[in-house]
Symmetry: C2
Subunit: 377 residues, 2 copies
C-alpha cells in the first residue's frame, strides 16, 4: 500500500534530499565540509529572517528548547510561560527541571493568548527574564500572535523566546522584524528533513543574558557553539548527513521563495479547512495556523478508530489528539514537503473513513470544497 | 579523485546502510517503527555484550558522555577521572561543568593507566562515586585496561563508566563480564553509521545511583529514556534514519560475529603497525588499541604537511595530532567499515607522501610488511 505522511513531523523528505543524504560519508573537519556548514548557516538566516547568529545542534528540537532555558535562566529567575498545549507545557517542564521560577499563563487548549494579558503580567513582574511560547502549537493547531508579543516584550528587559519547531519555513515568521530574541527549530517539519537536527537563532540582547547565565550544561553550551560556528565548525562531531540534506532543503526553499511558500501553506490550510467544514466537521483551533489543521471529532464518531483506519486501511499517517484531547481531535499536517494533491488525497481518504464510521455527508463534498481553492494556486 | 576515509570517525558507511537510510520517511510512533527500535536495542545488547538496559539518543557521542555525568554525580560528589588524552579530558570538563568534584589521575598522553594506582586511590577515597575512563583513547591510540579496572571497581560502591565511543564494535569489550556499570558510545565509529546517534548501556548498580541524582537535565534525563525505551519508543522525535541504519549495521556485525570482528581489527592493527615499523617510524601509543594506529612524526618530517598532502594530493583523510601532540603524531584509523585493502591503500599513499617529504626508505617495504600479515586473514 502506498504510504502518505501528513503527520506534524516527521514530514515526507523530498527525494533529492534523501539522495544527497545517501552520498558517501565525508569528514567533518575538512575545508569542503566547513564550507557547507557556512552555507547552511547563511541559508538558515534567510529562513529565520534574521541577521543574528544561528546555531546548529545534532539533537531533536527539544534539545534546542532545553538550551533556550539552560543558557538563559539562572536558578530562581522568573519566566512567563504561555501554556496552551503540549509543547507549551514542555517549556514549563524544562524550566522546572532547571529550577527557574516559571509564571504560567494558562490558556485553554485550542486557543492562543491575548497579548494584553502578557503586557499586564510583565508590568506587574519587572524581574521577568523571558517570555516563552510557540509560533504554532502543534498539539492544538493554534497560531500564537508572536508579532504582537514582540511589540510588547521589546519594551522590557525580558527576552522573547519562540519555539518555531513546527512553524519555521511554513508559517509566516520574521524573527528580526517581529523582535524575537531566541527562536528554536528542528529539521523534520517545515524544513523537510529527517529528524535529528535542531537550530537556534539568537539575538544580541539574548547573548547579553546568556553571558551571565551560570547553569550547568555542556552538550548544549551555546557560548561554545557560537565560537565554533563562527569558524563554520561544530564543537563535537555533528550530523554530516543532516548538514548535506539541509543545504539541499535551503536550495528548495530559496528556489520557491519564502513569501511564496508562506502563501502556499496558507492556501493548503484554507483548502483543508474548507473541506472540513463542507463535511460538517468543526475546527478545533482558533486562530488556526497554516501548517496543520486540527479538527474536532464529532461525538458519534470514534476518534481513535478514525486515525487508526486512516493509517492501517488507507496508508495515511495523520495525528490524533494528545493528552487532554486524546480521541477528541485529529490533526492533518500540511507542513514540509506537502503540496496540493496531498491535500486532495488525504481528504479523499478522510471521506472514506468517515463514511465507514457512520458520519453522514455526500461523497465528494469535502474534495470539491478543497479543489475550488487549490485550483487557484 | 577517489576518496578514502581512515579518520577516527566519521568512518565510511557501507553502501547498504546508506541505502536503507535513504528510504522514504516513516512516522516514529507507528507500531512498525517501534518494532524496529526494539530490534536495535536487542542488537545493541549483543554488541555491548550486556543484559543491561541500552538507551538511544539523537545526539553526538558527547551527549551520552554528558548524561553519564549529569545523571550520576550530584554537585560536590567525588569522581576519579583518568586523564590521558583529549577525550579523557572531556570527562573532566563535563564533571566540572556539573560542579562535581573530580580527582584527576594524570597519565602522559600515549600511555594507559596502572590499575593499581586506581585501586590505591579508591582505597584512600571511599566516597568516590564513579571512575571515568575510555576503552580506547582516540587522541592517542591507547587501549585502557578496562577489564582490570572492572575487577577493582566492582569491589567498591563506585561505578565504572567507560567511554567506548571509538572502541565499541572493534576493540575487544564485554560489558557484563568486565563489570562495567555504564558504557557510552556513538554511531560514527565501530558501528559504521553516520554521526548523530549515541548510546548508553546502564547496569542495575548504576540505576540505583541514578535514581538518587538531582542534577538538572531534560533532554538527557536517562530515567525518562528508560521508561520510554522499555516501550520501544523515544521521549522525543528520535532520528528515524539512524534507527534504520543501525538495524542494518547490527545485521552486518551479527553476520560477521563479534569475536571474528575483534580478531579482524586486531589483524588490521598488527598489519598497520608492521608497515609503520618497516618504514622506520615509531608508534606513539603503548599499549596500542586495535582500532587506530598513532605514529610519531620523525623530527625531519613536517607532520601537518603530511596529513594535508595525504588528503589534498592523494584523497586520504587520516588524522593529525590534537592539542599537545599537534603536528607530532598522525593517526590512521581502522575502525568501522575498513578492511584489509584499505590498509594496503593507505600505506601506499603514506609511502608516497613520506618520499615527498624527504623520509628515506625503500619503496614498498611498508606495503610488503602489511601484506604478509593481511594475506593470512
Amino acid at each position: 500500500m502506498k504510504k502518505f505522511l501528513l503527520a506534524p513531523g516527521p514530514t515526507p523528505v523530498p527525494e533529492e534530499i534523501l539522495r544527497v543524504m545517501s552520498e558517501p560519508m565525508v569528514h567533518h573537519r575538512t575545508p569542503a565540509f566547513k564550507a557547507m556548514v557556512g552555507k547552511t548557516i547563511e541559508g538558515l538566516k534567510y529562513i529565520f529572517q534574521t541577521k543574528n547568529d544561528v546555531l546548529i545542534f545534532s539533537a531533536s528540537g527539544t534539545g534546542a528548547m532545553e538550551g533556550a532555558v539552560s543558557n538563559v535562566l539562572n536558578r530562581g529567575e522568573k519566566a512567563i510561560i504561555i501554556r496552551n498545549g503540549k509543547f507549551a507545557e514542555r517549556w514549563g517542564e524544562i524550566a522546572e527541571k532547571f529550577e527557574a521560577n516559571p509564571i504560567y499563563l494558562d490558556v485553554p487548549w485550542g486557543s492562543a493568548i491575548e497579548p494584553k494579558v502578557v503586557e499586564n503580567l510583565l508590568n506587574e513582574n519587572r524581574d521577568v527574564k523571558a517570555v516563552y511560547t510557540q509560533l504554532t502549537e502543534t498539539s492544538t493547531g493554534v497560531v500564537i500572535p508572536v508579532k504582537e508579543l514582540g511589540e510588547i516584550v521589546k519594551k522590557t528587559d525580558a527576552l522573547l523566546v519562540i519555539d518555531a519547531i513546527s512553524g519555521l519555513g511554513g508559517q509566516k515568521f520574521y524573527m528580526d522584524k517581529w523582535n524575537v530574541d531566541i527562536c528554536v527549530s528542528g529539521s523534520q517539519k517545515g524544513l523537510m528533513l529527517p529528524p535529528g537536527h535542531a537550530y537556534a537563532a539568537v539575538s544580541e540582547k539574548a547573548w547579553e543574558k546568556i553571558e551571565k547565565c551560570t547553569q550547568s550544561n555542556y552538550y548544549f553550551d551555546w557560548k561554545v557553539y557560537r565560537k565554533k560556528l563562527a569558524k563554520n565548525t561544530d564543537p563535537f562531531t555533528g550530523s554530516v548527513l543532516h548538514v548535506k540534506g539541509l543545504l539541499k532543503a535551503i536550495e528548495i526553499v530559496k528556489n520557491e521563495g519564502l513569501e511564496k511558500r508562506f502563501e502556499r501553506y496558507q492556501n493548503l490550510a484554507t483548502a483543508c479547512r474548507a473541506a472540513i467544514k463542507a463535511l460538517g466537521l468543526e475546527l478545533f483551533a482558533n486562530p488556526s495556523c497554516d501548517v496543520e489543521t486540527a479538527v474536532k471529532v464529532p461525538e458519534t464518531v470514534d476518534g481513535l478508530a478514525l486515525v487508526k483506519k486512516m493509517r492501517d486501511e488507507y496508508g495515511f499517517t495523520i495525528a490524533g489528539g494528545q493528552a487532554e484531547v486524546k480521541g477528541k481531535i485529529f490533526r492533518i499536517a500540511h507542513m514540509g514537503y506537502i503540496e496540493r494533491f496531498d491535500i486532495i488525497a488525504v481528504i479523499a481518504a478522510l471521506e472514506m473513513v468517515l463514511k465507514d464510521l457512520g458520519w453522514k455527508f455526500e461523497w465528494g463534498v469535502g474534495l470539491a470544497a478543497a479543489q475550488k481553492i487549490l485550483t487557484e494556486m
